[in-house]
Amino acid sequence: MFKRIMVPVDLAHVERLRPALDCAADLAKHYNVPISYVGVTSPSPSKLAHNPKEFGEKLGAFAKEEASNHGIETSAHTAIAHDPTTEVDDALIRAIDETGADFVVMASHVPNVMDYIWPSNGGKLAEHAKCSVMVVRA
């Protein structure tokens, strides 16, 4: 039914993403398709990496780990945003095309009053992406 699943990951908060990651892995096994893990980073140094290259390496390592844990085929894709806080949605929408994914599984927090002002990334992606988006609540 699907060809490739895209899973946005925030490497700083992997533990919070566990339900979505496990769900994506189960779906990948069910449909027998690969997963592309997408991380968004800024060109300037962040908590995780000094530069995008180092970030890419960490994301690659994460993808490998998921592959061996779940027995699925994975790849990693680094998207760069100058201002990640506000540009993460656009970067992810571009990443759907770049990875060639046709299904997105992503984690999202339980909505609160702030989501009326700033929609969550998952909500925004579901609204604008051309493919199917599954939002997994933490």
Binding site: S46, T78, A81, D83, N112
Partner: protein, 552 residues
């Protein structure tokens, strides 16, 4: 199985070798991440809290004891600029020489962001953001005022003791006109060309080098790693960052308050809208709301777009003045100004054996302190958008080209204003508002009044003043947000909203309660400690480039 060849897709080009500083410090390790009701927080402890509280404390002090604050800071600023004028002048000269030397030195080949990095922004977006962050407002305010002032000043502060073109009762002395105009334009260009841009370039270069090449957090303290070592993550670093936030926030808030008064004066001059606190508070609210939209849309979607729009409107106004005031005359003026600048820049920047105290202390030292107090903000913002350039390209584009643009701007706006004063000695609106009665906020509109379509261009002028404030306010909020998040550029959106709003509230509080002037004097006073900080930065840049040079 992982597809290894896919691992680094998304990065256009590998970043290449650079000399990452090996520190155990992890960006964000001192941060407090919390969920405050619906708001996510990710702030540096203790920089965020101390900066915020000290800003509140100073506002309260200025509101509760306005006379004392005004008396103290009103004394402090001139005391600093007249005592340390030599220090400011020498330091600024060092920054210019340092930058020019780097352009021609082999270090110029070092690329910010690693040998294979590619520029994040194209030239148009980059230049627009350079100007819109920190200099645009000044160009609007001083473009007419300063040349016209030097040309006709009756207050004895002519640059280098230049001749006066007017007699005591305001009649023109034709043989003095050329010399006075030449010196007025050269002396103005001196304050807007190489020296201020070198000040910004030093900070910007230090931060981009230590952040993009050395992997340290994007924060002022990172530039001091070569001197302070690991101590930079402790109280030394906290102090540097707190003063930077403090100077940036007050610099923006007081400019916002004073700028609202200028825009209001313009509105009165053009539309007869009364000058009062209500209109000014509405203007500040409007500017802050626009800045909020911009920061929420982010760097590429908000700040950059707004800066580009701003630049297009500014160029349109510039071209309008060029062609309506006589293009041939203006290009001649530009040529003459450039020559005069080159001839006079050394005498003007020489701190010794001068007798023009009024100009040197009242204007030059004031400007240097002002640029330097803004340099953490503007420098950090320039750093944020300059990744991927070589040091040579960076300095050429941050130092040489903006200098030429500023000299051209001054030749156009100042030259036109001076020509109007010469042509209509008795009826010139510029002369009436700058020399006969000193109303600096009206100088731009008075000059536009002498050209055709004044009501349209004055409106454009007011819009530009407002939008330049928006572009300073949004980039400033991003800078403060990054510093107070310990160098993280991905702190939650509510934090930047907080700083942007806070800045507007401080401006409104000071506007209503009084104290804009005294707190602005205080901000300018921070220029003195920062001058020392910048001198040390030059040394750190040198050390950092030595290590990077190995990879070129």
């Amino acid at each position: 199985m992982a597809e290894e060849e896919d691992v680094s897709t998304g990065i256009p080009v590998p970043e290449g070798a650079s000399d990452i500083i090996d520190t155990d410090y992890e960006i964000g390790q001192d941060n407090i991440e919390a969920q405050l009701g619906p708001f996510g927080l990710d702030i540096h402890n203790p920089v965020f809290l101390i900066s915020g509280l000290s800003v509140v404390a100073f506002v309260v002090y200025a509101l509760l004891a306005p006379d004392q604050a005004a008396a103290f800071f009103g004394w402090l600023r001139p005391a600093l600029t007249s005592t340390f004028d030599g220090f400011f002048l020498i330091s600024a000269n060092i920054f210019v020489i340092f930058c020019l030397a780097l352009i021609v030195s082999p270090f110029g080949a070092v690329r910010l962001g690693g040998v294979d990095a590619t520029p994040d922004y194209g030239y148009a977006g980059w230049f627009s953001m350079l100007f819109a962050a920190g200099m645009g407002i000044g160009l609007m305010f001083f473009g007419v005022l300063e040349p016209a002032y030097y040309f006709g000043t009756p207050w004895g502060d002519e640059p280098l003791g230049a001749v006066r073109p007017f007699t005591e009762d305001g009649a023109l002395i034709p043989e003095n006109v050329e010399a006075a105009k030449r010196m007025a334009l050269a002396a103005t260009s001196y304050h807007w060309a190489l020296h201020p841009w070198a000040i910004y370039a030093v900070v910007a270069l230090a931060l981009s080098l230590f952040s993009y090449n050395k992997g340290l957090p994007l924060s002022i303290r990172s530039a001091f790693y070569p001197i302070l070592g690991e101590r930079v993550w402790g109280w030394w670093g906290h102090m540097i960052d707190i003063i930077a936030v403090f100077a940036t926030l007050f610099g923006l808030a007081t400019s916002l308050g004073l700028g609202a008064q200028q825009a209001n004066a313009g509105l009165e001059f053009v539309y007869g809208i009364p000058t009062n606190v209500t209109v000014q508070v509405l203007l500040i609210i409007g500017i802050t709301l626009l800045a909020l939209i911009s920061v929420v849309r982010g760097l590429d979607g908000g700040v950059k777009v707004l800066s580009e729009i701003n630049m297009i409107v500014a160029i349109a106004l510039l071209l309008f003045v060029v062609f309506t005031a006589g293009a041939v005359g203006i290009f001649t003026d530009f040529g003459k100004t450039l020559v005069a600048y080159v001839q006079e820049v050394i005498p003007l920047s020489n701190p010794f054996g001068r007798e023009d105290d009024g100009y040197r202390e009242g204007w030059t030292a004031f400007y240097w302190a002002w640029w330097i107090s803004w340099s953490p903000f503007v420098g950090m913002f320039i750093a944020r958008v300059s990744r991927g350039r070589t040091v040579r390209e960076f300095l050429t584009c941050v130092l040489i080209i903006p200098s030429l643009v500023c000299i051209f701007w001054m030749a156009v706006f100042g030259g036109t204003a001076i020509n109007d004063m010469i042509a209509n000695v008795d009826a010139s609106a510029v002369k009436a508002n700058v020399i006969d009665a000193y109303k600096p906020e009206l100088s731009l509109f008075a000059m536009l009044d002498s050209l055709p379509l004044a009501s349209i261009t004055s409106t454009v002028g007011i819009v530009l003043v407002i939008v330049f404030f928006v572009t300073s306010s949004d980039s400033g909020s991003l800078v403060i947000d990054t510093i107070t998040a310990g160098g993280k550029v991905d702190a939650p959106v509510p934090q930047r909203v907080f700083w942007c709003t806070f800045e507007g509230l401080v401006a409104i509080a000071l506007l209503i309660g009084g104290g804009l002037g005294s707190l602005q004097a205080m901000v300018i006073s921070t220029g003195l400690p920062f001058t020392i900080v910048l001198l040390l930065m030059c040394w750190c840049i040198f050390k950092g480039l030595m290590q990077e040079y190995k990879h070129v």
